[in-house]
C-alpha cells in the first residue's frame, strides 16, 4: 500500500542534508525571548535580530502594549466568531475606519492575517472570464489566491513594466476584466517595484491594479503609505493590501479601496467569512501602533539611514548584496556549500538572519535575507557587518583581500 507520507521523503532528505552540513535546522530556530526589538535570546545567547520584518520596532511599542493590556481587561481575549457573524466588535470597525482614513480611502476590510487578505481579495475580485496578471516573483499568498480564483492567471517578468504591457496587449479584445497584482517591496530580494511605470501601463490598458504593500507600508512614502505614495501614483491603485505583522509589529491583514463594492466583497470572500476575527487586544495594539507610525515619521528617516549603512557595509566587505537600498537586504551566495555554513556561523557569532533556499528564491541561488530596523543602533549594524565578514571568510564566501 502507498504510504501517505512518501511525498515528504524529498523534504526529509533535503532537511537531513541541511542539518548535517550546518549542525542546525534553520527552520526550527527558537527565539527564547525578545530582550528588546533588536536583541533576542537564542540558544541562551543574546543575538542581534536582523531578520524579523519588525521594521520600526513596534512589536515592543509601549503605547501598543498598554493598549493591548487595557483591551484585554475590558473585552477579554477573543471574539470566537467570524467578521460576518458574531466576530465584529466596535473595535474592528474602528480599526477599519482608521486604516482607511490613514490611507485617505473610502473603506477598509480587516482580515486575520496578511496571507488571508491576499488570498481573499485576489480569489474574490476576479471571476471566471477575468484575468489575473501577476509579477513572476509574487509572494506565496498571491499565488495561492490565484489558485483559489477561477480566473485565468498570467505571469509577467519580475518588475518589468514593458513585459506587463506586452502581456496585457496580447489580451486586447478578450472579454473579462484584468487585475494586475504587484508588491511594493519584494519580500525575498528587497527589490522595489517600478510602480509609476506599472501605473502607466494600467492607465493605458484599462486594467485594475492591486498593490501588496506588506513590506513597504510604514517604510516608504511621506506618511509611510508605501511605494505608491512615494511615487505619487496612489490614485492609480484600486486596492492596497497590507499586513500588520511587519512595520506595525502585531498581526492581521487589510485591504483599502475607494471602490464602494468592497462592501460586497465582504459577503463573497471566503478567507474573510470562514475564519474567526482578530482578538480585541490585537486590534487595540494595532490602532496604537498606527498612532506611533503617524506620530513618528523620524522612525522612517532612521530606518532609511540604517538600511543605507548596512547596505554600504555589505558592499564594502565585498558581499553580493541587493542593488537597491531598502530595509530588506538580500546577500546572494553562489552555492549551498557556502550559504549553510555561513548562516550557521552568523548565528554562532550572534546575528540572526533568514536563510532562503532554492526553489523559494528567484534565481535558484541561496540568499541570506536581512531586514533592517529603525531601532538598530549604528554600533549594532557595524557589529553585524563585522560578523558577516568573519562568517563570510570562514565559509569561503569572501576572500581575505577585501578586509
Amino acid at each position: 500500500m502507498t504510504s501517505l507520507f512518501s511525498k515528504f521523503e524529498g523534504t526529509a532528505s533535503a532537511l537531513g542534508a541541511l542539518v548535517e552540513a550546518g549542525g542546525r535546522n534553520p527552520f526550527a530556530v527558537v527565539i527564547e525571548k525578545p530582550i528588546s526589538s533588536t536583541v533576542g535570546l537564542i540558544e541562551g545567547r543574546e543575538t542581534l535580530l536582523f531578520g524579523t520584518n519588525n521594521y520600526l520596532g513596534l512589536s515592543q511599542s509601549e503605547r501598543a502594549i498598554k493598549a493591548a493590556q487595557d483591551a484585554v481587561s475590558k473585552y477579554g481575549v477573543g471574539t470566537t466568531g467570524s467578521r460576518i457573524a458574531n466576530g465584529t466588535q466596535s473595535l474592528h470597525r474602528q480599526l477599519e475606519q482608521r486604516i482607511a482614513s490613514y490611507f485617505g480611502r473610502r473603506d477598509a476590510m480587516v482580515f486575520s492575517t496578511g496571507y488571508q487578505a491576499n488570498l481573499g481579495m485576489i480569489s474574490t475580485l476576479v471571476g471566471k472570464d477575468d484575468y489575473l496578471i501577476l509579477d513572476a516573483d509574487s509572494h506565496a499568498s498571491i499565488y495561492d489566491g490565484s489558485r483559489l480564483s477561477p480566473a485565468q492567471v498570467i505571469r509577467f517578468r519580475h518588475n518589468d513594466a514593458d513585459d506587463l504591457h506586452k502581456r496585457l496587449k496580447r489580451l486586447d479584445g478578450t472579454p473579462g476584466a484584468k487585475l494586475i497584482v504587484v508588491e511594493g517591496i519584494y519580500s525575498m530580494t528587497g527589490n522595489v517595484a517600478p510602480i509609476a511605470e506599472m501605473a502607466a501601463v494600467k492607465r493605458e490598458t484599462g486594467a485594475y491594479l492591486l498593490v501588496d504593500e506588506a513590506h513597504s507600508f510604514g517604510v516608504m512614502g511621506k506618511k509611510g503609505l508605501g511605494v505608491a505614495e512615494e511615487a505619487g501614483v496612489e490614485a492609480d491603485v484600486d486596492f492596497v493590501v497590507g499586513t500588520f505583522s511587519k512595520s506595525l509589529g502585531t498581526v492581521g491583514g487589510y485591504c483599502v479601496s475607494d471602490h464602494p463594492e468592497l462592501e460586497m466583497v465582504r459577503l463573497n470572500c471566503r478567507p474573510y467569512m470562514f475564519t474567526a476575527s482578530l482578538p480585541p487586544e490585537v486590534i487595540a495594539a494595532t490602532m496604537a501602533a498606527l498612532e506611533d507610525l503617524a506620530d513618528h515619521p523620524e522612525l522612517r528617516t532612521q530606518l532609511k539611514e540604517n538600511a543605507a549603512r548596512l547596505h554600504a557595509g555589505f558592499h564594502r566587505i565585498g558581499l553580493n548584496a541587493s542593488r537597491q537600498v531598502s530595509p530588506v537586504i538580500a546577500v546572494t551566495l553562489e552555492t549551498l556549500e557556502q550559504a549553510i555554513p555561513m548562516w550557521n556561523r552568523l548565528l554562532d557569532l550572534g546575528v540572526y538572519v533568514n536563510l532562503s533556499l532554492p526553489p523559494a528564491t528567484p534565481d535558484h541561488r541561496p540568499l541570506l535575507r536581512c531586514s533592517v530596523m529603525a531601532t538598530h543602533t549604528a554600533a549594532q549594524i557595524d557589529q553585524a557587518i563585522e560578523i558577516f565578514r568573519q562568517a563570510g571568510l570562514e565559509a569561503g564566501a569572501l576572500k581575505e583581500t577585501v578586509a
Partner: protein
C-alpha cells in the same frame, strides 16, 4: 503564420536543448517535470520564453494539465487558433 503541434513541439525541443543540463535525446513524449527534472518554477520560467517566441500567453491554470512537450505544444496551438 500557422503553427502546428509538430512545429511548436520542435521549437520547444530546440529551446530546451539550448540548456546544457537537458538530456540530449528528448522528444515530444518526454514529461517535462519527471524526465527533464524541472521544478514547477523552472517550468513556468521556461514557458515564459516559449510564450515570447510565439507571442502567446499560456494561463497558469492550463499549465497544471500539461505533462509532456507535446501537451504544451498542443495547448499553445489551441490558444493561437482561438486568438
Amino acid at each position: 503564420m500557422s503553427e502546428t503541434v509538430e512545429s511548436v513541439s520542435a521549437l520547444i525541443i530546440q529551446k530546451l536543448l539550448a540548456n546544457p543540463k537537458v538530456p540530449r535525446d528528448i522528444d515530444g513524449n518526454c514529461k517535462i517535470m519527471e524526465d527533464l527534472a524541472f521544478d514547477s518554477l523552472a517550468v513556468m520560467n521556461f514557458v515564459m520564453e516559449v510564450e515570447d517566441t510565439l507571442d502567446v500567453s499560456v494561463p497558469l491554470d492550463k499549465l497544471a494539465d500539461i505533462r509532456t512537450i507535446n501537451d504544451l505544444a498542443k495547448c499553445i496551438v489551441d490558444l493561437k487558433n482561438k486568438g
